[in-house]
Symmetry: C2
Subunit: 878 residues, 2 copies
Amino acid sequence: MTKKKYVYLFNEGNANMRELLGGKGANLAEMTNIGLPVPQGFTVTTEACTQYYEDGKKIDASIQEEIFAGLKKMEKITGKKFGDATNPLLVSVRSGARASMPGMMDTILNLGLNDETVEGLAKLTNNPRFAYDSYRRFIQMFADVVMEVPKPLFENILDEAKEAKGVKLDTELNANDLQEIVKKFKTLYKQKKNQEFPQDVNAQLIAAVEAVFRSWDNPRAIVYRRMNDIPASWGTAVNVQSMVFGNMGDDCGTGVAFTRNPATGDNKLYGEYLMNAQGEDVVAGIRTPSPIATLAEQNKAVYDQFQNICNILESHYKDMQDMEFTIEHGKLYMLQTRNGKRTAKAALKIAVDFVNAGVWSKADALLKIEPKQLDSLLHPTFDDKALKSAKVIAKGLPASPGAAAGKVCFTSSEAIERSANGEKVVLVRLETSPEDIEGMASAQGILTVRGGMTSHAAVVARGMGACCVAGCSDIVVDEEARTLKVNGKVYTDQDYISIDGSTGNVYGEQIATVPASLSGDFGTVMQWADEYRTLQVRTNADTPKDAKQAYHFGAQGVGLCRTEHMFFEADRIMAMREMIVSKTVEERKKALAKILPMQKKDFVGIYTEMKGNPVTIRLLDPPLHEFLPHTDDEIQALAKEMGLTFKSLKDTVASLHEFNPMLGHRGCRLAITYPEIAEMQTEAIVSAAIEVKKKHGYDIVPEIMVPLVGHKNELDFVCKHIREVADRIIKESGLNLHYKVGTMIEVPRAAVTADEIAKTAEFFSFGTNDLTQMTFGFSRDDAGKFLNDYYAKKIFEQDPFARIDENGVGRLVKMAVELGKSTRKDIKLGICGEHGGDPATIEFCHNVGLTYVSCSPFRVPIARLAAAQAAIKAKRAK
Amino acid sequence: MTKKKYVYLFNEGNANMRELLGGKGANLAEMTNIGLPVPQGFTVTTEACTQYYEDGKKIDASIQEEIFAGLKKMEKITGKKFGDATNPLLVSVRSGARASMPGMMDTILNLGLNDETVEGLAKLTNNPRFAYDSYRRFIQMFADVVMEVPKPLFENILDEAKEAKGVKLDTELNANDLQEIVKKFKTLYKQKKNQEFPQDVNAQLIAAVEAVFRSWDNPRAIVYRRMNDIPASWGTAVNVQSMVFGNMGDDCGTGVAFTRNPATGDNKLYGEYLMNAQGEDVVAGIRTPSPIATLAEQNKAVYDQFQNICNILESHYKDMQDMEFTIEHGKLYMLQTRNGKRTAKAALKIAVDFVNAGVWSKADALLKIEPKQLDSLLHPTFDDKALKSAKVIAKGLPASPGAAAGKVCFTSSEAIERSANGEKVVLVRLETSPEDIEGMASAQGILTVRGGMTSHAAVVARGMGACCVAGCSDIVVDEEARTLKVNGKVYTDQDYISIDGSTGNVYGEQIATVPASLSGDFGTVMQWADEYRTLQVRTNADTPKDAKQAYHFGAQGVGLCRTEHMFFEADRIMAMREMIVSKTVEERKKALAKILPMQKKDFVGIYTEMKGNPVTIRLLDPPLHEFLPHTDDEIQALAKEMGLTFKSLKDTVASLHEFNPMLGHRGCRLAITYPEIAEMQTEAIVSAAIEVKKKHGYDIVPEIMVPLVGHKNELDFVCKHIREVADRIIKESGLNLHYKVGTMIEVPRAAVTADEIAKTAEFFSFGTNDLTQMTFGFSRDDAGKFLNDYYAKKIFEQDPFARIDENGVGRLVKMAVELGKSTRKDIKLGICGEHGGDPATIEFCHNVGLTYVSCSPFRVPIARLAAAQAAIKAKRAK
């Protein structure tokens, strides 16, 4: 085994070494190479992180040696010495994974300070205020990140000091104040950790590197990885970089900027900076930063230099860049560059602009857009009329576009819970922190009191495509009293508010919304996608309304129409219940006759909205008891309505009880015991198609889908009943109508015997929800009890219900595709589980050779883009 | 397409044409060919039956033509003419499938009679009594079998006639009486069917053939096929044979006989006959027949001729024969021969005798024994001591050996229901009919009042290996009052009786039983089986008692020890419940510490009984709520005992509720959320092995089995915890102990990713119960609601929980075997579902390359034989 190299100086790497050096490290190296002003440093590789975990969370001595060797080289270049009392080298220690995970992992600045070096730094810079400001920052960060002493304890001390002095900002504290604070910080540290604050700078460094490695596995990073498909095995690199200081005085500062506007895509430098501050002050949202444009007024030379660097970086990386910089005594340093995260709107505009500029091909542009992000453009915006009469009660920063209305909600956990119960909530926080990530995802939108456009809330919301208004200082939030006050008016958690992420407006009421449309850049990109994709995109639609929405979004047919959903409506459930409690075939047929015209009407509506595109209709699927009342009161009421005794109805309900409803009397099993149900449904499906053909001339090809088939004989039996009814009705109509009979592949046995089943089935539709449940052997309703443990213990990294499990469920799908085609070469193959709208799954579906994916109407544009990406990637991989 | 031949004269066929002609037809042809006295006739093939179903239950005109052409040839040979008024040809129409299905399908005798031909027959034979006796039999049979007029209506008329005349037997009725009866029968027929009894003999014949075809699909035939693995696609042939008459007078008769004793295997002619009777009289058990030996006194010539034919047939077919014969005016006719059904005891003796006689090789002999039948020898017999003090209250015929004790039960449906509820019942009937077949299978034993050794009850019970005492006329059964009277004492359905099928004794109490032993012929055959088989046979045993029993029956290890079964015992459930309601790891560990010594003790016991053979122990598997109380009263009681509030315990119970427990928090998922459970179990498993090694020197290799694994990571996680504990304990013991860690393959995903899982798993054990549930997507507990419909509609022919579904579940097993071996060449492969004791599944397991099967202790000898048969068949197929 040749010895691995675990530490790379910046000048030893380049942008292609992202896997080894992480994104930040690779780009620091690249910037160094192309001659940009980057403070010197080195990167400890992602492999060192993996090794750290393999070694039982210890950094091996040989790797430690390499780190100190790197440090020596830095000392040589900078002329400073780590831990030296007269000319100390200070470093930042920052995480940097292969994929950007903003705010998820830890950073420590000003490392190398101790009671001696702080004095040296004060003397050397002749700036004791700066020296102690840096030291107090370091103590707090080290204590928080490395030793887990809660940050607020330190902030309290700082706040007390400011209060005692009667000032508001930390910049108003002088060297003596800060020296006092440092003492108090150290006392607090000793109190909490039973040891002095570490003075050995080498120990500081190793502890900090370990802490960053450790932070790869903190709970919020695990959640983030799951949401963003990042494998745990990647690990993070650590960048150790010579400090430059934005906090040395008023000719110093620090900031973040984008080469284009990340919210709109406008081709204009965009960002914020704070003078006399260190990096964390900008993103933490404690002081409100100034827009980047004002830097031109403050220091034209630096601004011009920065503008120039931005141009270099964007054309070098051929993408919009997101950068961090520091100005030390008027000198500009670049601390980071990366492809900038952007809203969907910006992504589309940037894509169109780059293609128009000849920088990207259409295929390149399509690959640059994250399909899931489009979601934000597909959600409703406020209804113009409703908006006119609505009163703005406050105004914040338009941090992430979109419109949201919901009841006020004050904590992340509350947002998760109330949303799960079907409530729409807007999460209102003083400021958000990485712990809020799940709550933000659950809420309709996020409103924060503090923080700017690059605050945590804003960055995360844009990434999620969630609506966000940030830094809305007009409102007063009392998290304990659970109230929100604006201009003296109090809102509780039962009051509605609405927020507009595109304007920053906040409204004290619920405002109606209107659906999104596919126009402008969005339309252009969708058209490109359609040029490249070969996979068709259909929709899951149970109502004419859904079908209409999906058609508008470009759906090429209905891949799944669930007929049972039509029967939960109040005016229909009675007929359904009558059918279920029937004791004889005759009684059941009588009840079914009442249902027939309702079903037919639905199908007429759906066919009409689909304008001649194929519609796949699934026969009744759920266990019958789902339609029945369960409490004694409900049963009593129903019995009365239906003229039955309480006891007899209660007995019927009890007789339908199942131990494992998921594995019970449902799907085609219903059609086998009660063929008359399938017959009624067939009649509705076929006669509706005939009616629509007569009326509109649409040549609908209904695809009748038999659910839960596991054995060819099941399908044969039901198919025979379907064909008898369908053929009779078509013959009676005198028209020519084609229809298909096929099946869901959702039971493992169906996948394994797909060659047999394809003898009868003219199409397969993979029902990957059920297939996942049965292949893994756990039900979605019950898995909640242990899946969190599975994520925490890294047994699963992905939710198999969100993204198809390629190794297991995927193997069955592949097998079924091959077996199905071996029997019936031209078999139509689709997927209609919720996976059908997941981009990674869509790529799998393309590669495995499906004909179409079917997803919810609002996922159709996402699926169109994902299908195009899959086609482009597959072509390029050849 | 060359024209198929659907009708074969007996002289056109032979014994090898069983598939086409059915067993009866092929053997009638064979007997014809070797010159035995067989009445002439022809066989309508099984293909005609299949065609009948394909043509929508109609006999095609061309097949009808062939039938009548066959009839013409019969007329030519016999010199009689079908439907002729002066010399009429009468025929029997009898079913005959490929595999013998005694009593399952229909037979019609004396066909060809009508108002004219009956007169002709009377004149021709000068025996009007005989002619009308034949006609009344024909009308009743035709009406019953072809037209579904209930038989009892006819029997009532016959009974009234006998009563009116003051006689007891039908032989005491004269020609006039019978003529009157014929009239009444015809009136009844017209009344029920709104048409005259058919006089067209051709129409009679076709209707009868159709009725036999139809009877292939009657409910009892479907049940029988399912129990005996006979596919529906085989169909039945129909034999049309010239009648010979046992009812022409006292020099006529009919009987059935076996070349050896079918109950004991004794090499001595065995059977019964009735003079002046037709075949159905013997098997129906209405009159009690005479033993075959007495025929020698009655007609020495015929007896000798029959004895001679028996010898010819046994040496021709090289097996014990079961024959039907008729004597017409002193002349012997053979109506059927087939390999005789026999008890397990007889099967073993016959096998040993035939091998000793040099007729069969050992391999031949092993193939001749039906493994399932051995079951009857493995069940307890009465305890000698208990038997000594027991009083015989009645005595019947020893119809099928074995001992049974249970509460009295009067109907078949009651037997099914009470047995399902865990009650042991003895089915007591006047006589059984084919409809009783399921009830007989559910009961401990069968006691009938009427019928001989070849009555329906006796034949079926022997086939099932069920204990049966038949023809016990000492008892009086009142089926309506639901009582059984013997010598004035009344037994109700709550009273126990015991019956001994080897002696015919009936006892009015519950008698203790003792287990069976493998000695004599049984031991010999088992030894032969062990010489041939390559598949190992292990047992499923949860207790030392089970392990001991299985070891005694030849088990080579434990394939499945279910640890949870140890915790339902009253003295242990408390500790288990404590563990479950624990809120913290510490509390849980405290409760587990109480369980540890109990588990260890069980394992010590099982290892000791297994004397050094490997023992596979499965970690805790079922959802935890199974251990908790569910009613409020039970919860209250437990809360009190455990010092918890009712509410808190109720909440805990509620929180453990699952929607689909089968797909819930169970199996390895428990060990993942609560690793301390797996750790405790590992400690018990390993320290018990060390204790046994120290004490007895047995070098036990415990195989620790992780249940319900679907993903390699699950196994890795649990395996890590197991190995840590196991290695620590072994190290502490200072001994050298080997152990294995493996997994169940019972989740479809495990089968599909077996290559991955085998990286960690040292062995696989196929849990085909769960694998079947998840592969089909139905749970055993819920499938009852629709599986009967599936059988009735021929969607399933087999219960997939009894016999492995080779096409679906089997494909997954095969895949897992191949994938597992691709990763780990020497992986140990077993099966531990209930399928492990099913002979057909065992054959599958042999062919697919498993190392062992594991089954319940009482199935071990069956599995040994089945494994030998599989090895022999596989070798011969090469």
